[in-house]
């Protein structure tokens, strides 16, 4: 739908919303933009927004591609719980960091493979297929931790959550790295084109020779990997695994971040960076409401109101009503061709 807007103006609603939310935070809390260096690590509200937003941003990266294929992955929160549970339990049992990381990430890949096979091979609707793991995954995580909150002492693993690299908090570094890696993978190969093509029209893509099952499996596997990284960060941050609450409801935040970022649930064109911006908007709002001293009860309502505004700003129906910006054409809903009924 971005056809008539050039690349720079197309993402205006997202950047605008991010700036507006940050400015609102600044008004509420004048120290919002101050950043200081302490013990070789950056501190400040803005850094905090990025740090806290990292798990959802990671989920959103994987979710973007799933949604681009006209799917959705509800199980990412549960996958976070599984990867976190495996990391914490193995660390407690004395395994080394590399084995822990490998096992934890592998669990994410495996979960993604499961989802991908259900969707691509067994052709179950994505929302149902991933609902299975959303429910079962938390059970698996509880089995791994044997129903306990597993805590561990491992400075190496904890560093993933609370450490820093060149003064930047580790979760932010990992998110940027994943974003770069994913962008490289889809934009330097033909994967991006095929993901969009499958999302727009799976049948046409298959008839053109695109290996649609493999593309679908790949996006779910990558989404699982992103979720596993997010699970590691959360576990490392709290130095423990809580199978009941790790990543709880974060799949919904991730979907929201993707949609706020402008990728349509109807599949097709996707923007990885914009999804991360969407996650940043969500987190900036959360932080702002906490800082403002409003009752936490307001949190959800304010969030909903802001999101509504962002989504309305992207809505094709609204853009045709509003006076158009100079040079830009209103985005028209695609004209529906007269349907010739086959007798």
């Amino acid at each position: 739908m971005s056809l008539s807007l050039s690349g720079s103006t197309r993402n205006l609603p997202q950047y605008g919303a991010l700036v507006a939310v940050l400015l609102a935070n600044w008004l509420l809390f004048p120290d919002f933009f101050s950043i200081r260096l302490q013990d070789g690590r950056l501190f400040g509200s803005l850094v905090d927004v990025m740090n806290r937003g990292a798990p959802v941003a990671l989920l959103a990266i994987g979710m973007t591609m799933v949604i681009a294929t006209r799917g959705v992955d509800l199980s990412v929160g549960a996958i976070m719980a599984i990867s976190g549970a495996i990391a914490a339990t193995m660390t407690q049992a004395g395994w080394g960091l590399s084995a822990v990381l490998a096992a934890s990430l592998a669990s994410g890949l495996l979960c993604g493979l499961w989802n991908g096979v259900l969707v691509a091979v067994l052709r179950i609707q994505p929302i149902i297929a991933t609902l299975i793991l959303m429910v079962a995954g938390r059970g698996i995580a509880q089995l791994v931790t044997e129903g306990q909150i597993v805590t561990f002492v491992s400075p190496d693993l904890a560093a993933i959550g609370s450490g820093s690299f060149l003064t930047v908090p580790m979760p932010v570094v990992l998110t940027v790295a994943m974003l770069g890696l994913t962008a490289l993978l889809v934009r330097m190969t033909a994967l991006g084109l095929m993901i969009e093509s499958v999302g727009v029209n799976r049948l046409s893509s298959a008839y053109a020779g695109v290996n649609t099952p493999v593309i679908l499996i790949a996006v779910y596997v990558w989404c699982g990997l992103c979720a596993a990284v997010a699970g590691l960060i959360v576990t490392a941050d709290i130095r423990g695994a809580d199978a009941n609450n790790a990543g709880l409801w974060l799949e919904l935040d991730a979907i929201l971040a993707v949609v706020v970022g402008g990728t349509s649930l109807l599949g097709g064109r996707f923007g990885l960076l914009m999804s991360v911006v969407g996650a940043a908007i969500l987190q900036a709002m959360n932080t702002g409401i906490l800082l403002s001293g409003f009752k936490p009860e307001f949190n959800l309502i304010v969030k909903a109101a802001v999101l509504l505004v962002v989504l309305l700003a992207q809505s094709p129906a609204l853009t045709t009503l509003l006076p158009r910006p100079r040079g830009a054409q209103p985005i028209k809903p695609h004209p529906v061709a007269p349907k010739r009924t086959t007798p």
């Binding site: 994967l191 727009v200 049948l203 046409s204 008839y207 695109v210 064109r269 086959t342 007798p343």
Partner: protein
């Protein structure tokens, strides 16, 4: 059976209906008398569906009148039509398979007793109704336990019991086998004797002559004519449906060059077929040869094309490409073999709407190369620009989403998609459907050029002149069988029409009509 001056059961006069500027019905007349079976025939886009849907209240007409027993009516909804005694049974049974037969018969009008459904009375009455159709089944059993034919009869019984004057049967036989068709016809004759008027829509000409009294033919939203079935030879009927004046001479635009038949074929299908789709057929295609597939709607043309590209997997026979036996497991395999396929339904199966013209053009080539070897952006641009120039695709630039192009330009972009892969064998299903006259001629010229370049083509088209113009050989299909091959001098519109219209040879097992595969 009625007074000669009594008004007919149903009289439609000057019916018109347009959809967003497309005239689906243009001043159509249709008359249904008491106690007759009236076939409503026509090819794709003829307006049969629109007529039926206007009659049953799904669509509201733009102009014209509908009179039932002399009284003008204007059904606003399906329920409204039912109240007016117009009942409809569709190809797919519109009942609830998990409910019992009796419940299906009385759904929405169950006999009540003390405010509760009187199940015993319902079953009793259901038994009586179905006995009238010679159907003695357990009416308490769920409907899904019975064959499609039985379900079809239950649907008819329900429609007749609710509204007993006009019954519309929209392709009821499409998923029935020969015996079931015979049972259905008995039911229809019984209803006819009760004075009910039946509108019968079907693609099977044999069935038309087996059961119908009158035939009305539509074409492109206009009435072609109404005839008594007994007075209308098959040949004339087919000519009416296809819109050909048989006297009119047709000539081939370009005589394809002589091709040595002894040369090995590029692609050879042997005993290739799929049950419930197309009966096994043999087909050889040589480089530089265009083979046309002709037949009425539902005769198996599209099914043949889909089998040849591996979209549907054949369950019998073999494929040989360049003398080597090979498997055709799916489109990907076909693309690897150097096949290409432009499907009939461009929108659903061809274009990737929201992607750009450039991306649509390079898609098949990229898919064949695999995702690891992306075509560099500059090269993509070159390929797209080359074909936009070569095929004269009218678009401001290659980055425009293909869905914004006109049908003809979309079709050319799809051809470009395959030409970019330098295919050896190209399958085109209705390449000129829904395309304006200018683009139409260009695509035909393009087909001739491709053939001259040594490509093998298999073209499905309902435009017979078109097929005759470029085909070296024409395969005629009827009732999902390849029934005739015309070559050389025999490739003419008249011969094709005659071949389509010829009677099926008498055989102990009539060709079984199978489920219509709709794209």
């Amino acid at each position: 059976m009625t007074h000669p001056h009594a008004p007919p059961l149903l009289a439609i006069r000057g019916l018109s209906k347009a959809f967003l500027g497309v005239q689906a019905l243009d001043g159509v007349d249709f008359t249904l008398r008491h106690g007759e079976v009236h076939a409503l025939l026509g090819e794709n886009g003829a307006g049969k569906s629109t007529l039926i849907k206007t009659l049953t209240g799904v669509y509201q007409r733009d102009g014209g009148t509908i009179a039932l027993c002399g009284e003008e009516i204007a059904p606003r909804s399906v329920e409204d039509a039912q109240r007016l005694n117009i009942g409809t049974v569709y190809q797919e049974v519109n009942l609830l398979p998990n409910l019992s037969v009796a419940e299906n018969l009385f759904l929405g009008r169950q006999p009540m007793r003390f405010g509760l459904v009187d199940r015993a009375a319902m079953r009793r009455r259901a038994r009586v109704i179905l006995d009238g159709y010679g159907l003695s089944i357990d009416v308490a059993a769920p409907l899904q336990r019975f064959s499609v034919a039985t379900q079809q009869i239950v649907a008819i019984a329900r429609a007749v019991d609710m509204s007993a004057k006009v019954l519309i049967l929209d392709e009821p036989t499409a998923s029935l086998d020969a015996q079931e068709v015979a049972v259905l016809f008995d039911v229809m004759r019984g209803l006819k004797a009760r004075g009910i008027g039946i509108v019968f829509v079907t693609h099977f000409l044999d069935q038309v002559y087996a059961v119908c009294d009158r035939i009305t033919v539509l074409r492109n939203g206009r009435l072609v004519g109404e005839r008594r079935a007994a007075d209308l030879p098959r040949l004339d009927l087919v000519a009416m449906m296809l819109g050909r004046e048989l006297e009119a001479a047709s000539h081939r635009l370009a005589q394809p060059e002589e091709i040595d038949d002894s040369r090995p074929p590029l692609v050879r299908f042997q005993g290739f077929g799929k049950t419930r789709s197309v009966a096994p057929f043999d087909l050889d295609i040589r480089p530089g040869e265009v083979v046309g597939l002709a037949g009425l709607l539902g005769s198996g043309r599209t099914e043949t094309a889909r089998l040849a590209f591996g979209v549907d997997r054949a369950d019998s026979g073999s494929v040989t490409v360049d003398g080597e036996k090979t498997q055709l497991r799916g489109p990907r395999e076909a693309v690897r073999l150097g096949f290409g396929y432009c499907p009939e339904d461009r929108k659903k199966e061809g274009i990737v709407g929201a992607l750009s013209v450039r991306e649509n053009i390079i898609l098949a080539l990229q898919a064949r190369q695999g995702w690891l070897k992306p075509i560099p952006r500059r090269r993509q641009q070159e390929i797209a620009d080359r074909f936009i120039r070569l095929l004269d695709i009218r678009t401001p630039d290659a980055e425009r989403p293909i869905q914004l192009l006109s049908g003809g330009n979309q079709q050319k972009a799809l051809l470009a998609r395959w030409l970019a892969t330098e295919p050896r064998f190209l399958i085109l299903d209705e390449p000129t459907r829904g395309i304006d006259v200018g683009a139409h001629a260009e695509i035909i010229r393009l087909i001739e050029r491709l053939c001259a370049d040594g490509m093998a083509l298999l073209v499905v088209s309902s435009e017979l002149e078109e097929i005759v113009a470029y085909s070296r050989r024409v395969i005629v299909l009827r009732d999902r069988h390849h029934v005739d091959v015309l070559r050389g001098e025999d490739v003419s519109v008249e011969r094709i029409v005659a071949s389509i219209a010829s009677e099926s040879p008498p055989s102990p097992v009539p060709p079984s009509p199978v489920a219509e595969v709709r794209p």
